[in-house]
Subunit: 96 residues, 2 copies
């Protein structure tokens, strides 16, 4: 039974886990508006750029974002836009 859990739910859980950090959730919402480079996100959040870079790679590894290179900057882009609907669900709850 353990096996079934791990096989069927692990991938989904990875996505939820990636969204389970306030900074990453903030990043997702910023990228929902428009693509942003790492330095822009770093300036907005205020953490070290290496910290932001690591958050972005967490999001990238589960397919929520991808990126495009422009010159020497890297612009991240929200790829899995349906995660925005997921947040609405959470917000609904909070209102109650």
């Amino acid at each position: 039974m353990r096996k079934e859990i791990l096989d069927n739910y692990e991938k989904d859980a990875e996505v939820f886990k990636a969204l389970g950090h306030p900074t990453r959730l903030f990043i997702v919402h910023q990228l929902a508006k428009e693509d942003k480079c790492v330095c822009e996100l770093t300036a907005m959040v205020g953490d070290d750029i290496s910290t932001i870079s690591k958050h972005l790679s967490v999001l990238k590894n589960v397919g929520i974002v991808d990126y495009l290179k422009k010159g020497n900057q890297i612009f991240y882009r929200l790829k899995l836009r349906c995660v925005l609907d997921m947040t609405v669900c959470v917000d609904d709850k909070r209102v109650r």
Copy 2:
């Protein structure tokens, strides 16, 4: 700026984080079918009952589930049913 992130996204992130574990995701899907007591969930998952109890309290603390007592057993119930739609979003992605 840190402040804004923490204040506006921390609550949502807590919910995502609660779903970010395969066992908890499995539990949510079982409860979507019908209420279950801790011992039933324990039997299905195969972990120690104390481990299951902790997973349930994580889900309860963020409002995803609640429970009702019946005799000496405690039946957990899926309260925030919209999380099921959230999973669909994830599955959509995986198909691609």
